[in-house]
């Protein structure tokens, strides 16, 4: 057991933290979200310039060759300011999927511009019911002549689909000598593809529905080996989940910081709010949830990073963080009172983020199910 961050990691953390704090004022973030793309392209370029998008990818693709653990630390820092960017969908979900699935040629084609921030990728995972059910993809790529396909199905809650150069999606190949679940590269501008903006008040990320109605695809649009689509995605999800947890830990850390800061300053009944026992106990609970969330998340991140088996640890992290973060945002609101209930205050970003993150990739109950499986139950 060693709980100290390595010197390099600490450096990354400090630099990233400082950069984000400098650049991502609350006003800046509010402004960015309002634009067409839903994020600041200028900042996005800068992040790419800092090597963040390529942090975990090999140098030959323009990456930094850093550890997955460091990526989690970066997500924790981004979670503190709740920076909305396509980082997660492009450099984690899609990038990892390409890294797992694609041929060397395709990796060389896709990863460098992704890492450079010039090309944005996204992954369409959830069906119309919001489920990710590998036993029933509800997305069919019917074989046409000469190796062509026709794609039909609906995907929703797809991040930044409007800004994405490519949308990856897993579909069941159907037709003579069917090939099973397969990842395809699609674009929102193609024939038969419709992108519809969704009203999702909880998320900073912009989310879309992507409808495929007999969208034509070619054999070249297949990513990796036909029939192995689910295997690829299942290799990506654990890391995506832990990046999400790290982001939640960052958000939670900021919520605790905001709340403790507030109760030290705010006076009520003639003394600081923080002198009230009920407030103190609530703050202590938040701190306890924060430390525990961070430890379970770091544990999974570290084991994943070292390639050790950790299915149970991943599930524990998502189960614990989902509940902890949400509970703490409730407490924070309760302590802040009216001021925290205004749009002007930043607290609500975390309140929303906590709930949206709980729902993403399975809530606490879902992951306790996974823990149960790992226990042999």
């Amino acid at each position: 057991m060693e709980f100290r961050l390595s010197e390099e990691t600490k450096l990354l953390k400090d630099n990233a933290g400082r950069f984000l704090q400098d650049r991502c004022s609350s006003a800046f973030l509010r402004e960015s979200v309002r634009g067409e793309t839903g994020f600041s392209t200028a900042l996005w370029k800068e992040m790419a310039g800092l090597g963040w998008l390529g942090l975990i990818y090999e140098e030959r693709y323009g990456g930094v060759g850093g550890s997955f653990f460091d990526l989690c630390i970066l997500f924790e820092e981004m979670g503190k300011v709740l920076l909305p960017t396509p980082f997660f969908c492009s450099a984690v979900l899609s990038g990892l999927l390409i890294d797992e699935a694609a041929s060397e040629t395709v990796k060389k084609e896709l990863l460098p511009p992704m890492i450079g921030g010039e090309r944005i990728l996204t992954l369409a995972l959830l069906d119309e019911g919001g489920r990710c059910d590998f036993s029933d993809l509800k997305m069919e790529a019917r074989k046409g002549g000469d190796g062509s396909f026709v794609l039909t199905g609906k995907r929703i809650l797809v991040p930044y689909a409007h800004a994405a150069d490519e949308i990856l999606v897993c579909a069941q190949i159907a037709g003579p000598g069917q090939n099973g679940p397969t990842v395809f590269r699609t674009t929102g501008r193609s024939q038969g593809v419709k992108i519809v903006s969704l009203d999702t008040p909880l998320t900073g990320e912009k989310l879309f529905a992507v409808f495929y109605e007999e969208a034509p695809l070619s054999r070249d649009d297949i990513l990796g080996v036909p029939g192995r689509g689910i295997d690829y995605i299942e290799k990506v999800l654990p890391r995506a989940i832990i990046c999400k947890c790290a982001e939640m830990v960052g958000g939670l850390a900021r919520v605790v910081e905001m709340t403790v800061g507030y109760v030290k300053e705010r006076r009520q009944f003639g003394r600081p709010l923080g002198a009230l026992q009920a407030v103190q106990h609530s703050c202590a609970d938040m701190q306890m949830h924060l430390e525990a969330s961070r430890l379970v998340t770091y544990q999974a991140a570290s084991l994943l990073s070292e390639g050790m088996p950790c299915e149970k640890e991943i599930a524990m992290a998502k189960a614990f963080c989902s509940d902890a973060y949400k509970k703490c945002t409730w407490s924070a609101h309760q302590i802040h009172g009216g001021i925290g209930f205004t749009e002007e205050h930043d607290l609500h970003f975390y309140y929303k983020h906590a709930k949206a993150s709980e729902l993403a990739f399975g809530d606490a109950r879902f992951h306790r199910g996974r823990v149960g499986e790992a226990m042999g139950l």
């Binding site: 119309e128 809650l157 009520q268």
Partner: protein, 396 residues
Amino acid sequence: MRFYFTEQQEKFRCQVRDFLEEQLQAGAFSVHSASLVGPVSREFSRKMAEKGWIGLTWPQKYGGQGRTYVDKMILNEELFRVQAPVGYHFSADRQVGPALMKFGSEWQREHFLPRIVRAEEGIDFCLLFSEPNAGSDLASVATRAERDGDSYIVSGQKVWTSGGHDADYGWLLAKTNLDPEVRSHLSCSEFILDMHAPGVTVRPLVNIAGVHSFNEVFLDDVRVHERYLVGRENEGFKQIMAQVDYERAGIERLMQNYPVFSRLKDHVLHLDKTALDAGRYAWIRDALAGLEVDFQTGRLLCYYTAWLVDQGGNVSSQAALTKSFCTQFEQRVNDIALQILGPVGQIGQGGPWRPPVFIEDLVESYLWGPSYTLQGGSVEILKNIVAQRGLGLPRA
């Protein structure tokens, strides 16, 4: 003991239901959860007035019906079941009227009560209690009302004023004894303030659901005639303590999300159980039954509190206890509804596309979540009241 309603009460409930059904059919409003007290519609309030349902519990000499609080609870239960747009008269009916009957002058009663009961134009009230430094802690009120001849000159800042932008009058708490040695409890008074008077500025506040429902109100040398002083000078605190009980004793704190709750039950009833993992369905069922238990228990507490009001006792502690129980239900119902629906639940009504599985207002209701346990006394304050006034524990 009798845990059902009399025939007369059932009949009354049916009348209210029929009226509301009629209004819904006529498109007078739509069922929409989330906001704290339904939207403002003078037209709707006027129709209610015609039925005699404003001032239901008030004495007949002020235009009321002299009926029980249990009847009023029945009325409110039905109104909130469909989130009827009662905003125009709600504060006046719930708090202002009872306060005037208890503390107001005869002129004030005659001037305001019949107009409220008839939902006349210009009687929409808001409450001007909270200030930036006096939220839960009203004793820190800093707004001053200085005597000037037969008037008071009021200056200060109020905040969290629900409906302040629509209101015609504000029910104001302000300091009338400015001697810093005198405790707030003995230095504040209550006034009725004309919101259209010179010096009143209302600045909208947008809440975290993106809705403008409350406001900051700036008072700059607003002149208030002494006949608008309610009750006795410097006794505002004593008066207000009795009044907020009415605010807390209602069923609205249990039913702000009734449409969401009801739609959730509907949704689960129509779930295709065969397509669902048995364990997950068992959990949904358990969670929903748990909500039902809490809802029905909260409802009992509400009716019990109303009944106690009818008995004429002091209900401070009981009202605080009831509200404390009910608001916690409000927060839980949205949380669980979103867990049951999963990721699609977070899609709101604003976009061009809605998922097949969809509960209107759900996300928005979740966003209103933090307010439930804050408005009208935070849960912490309510528990202090239960402990101190109800159980006789010493002040901290």
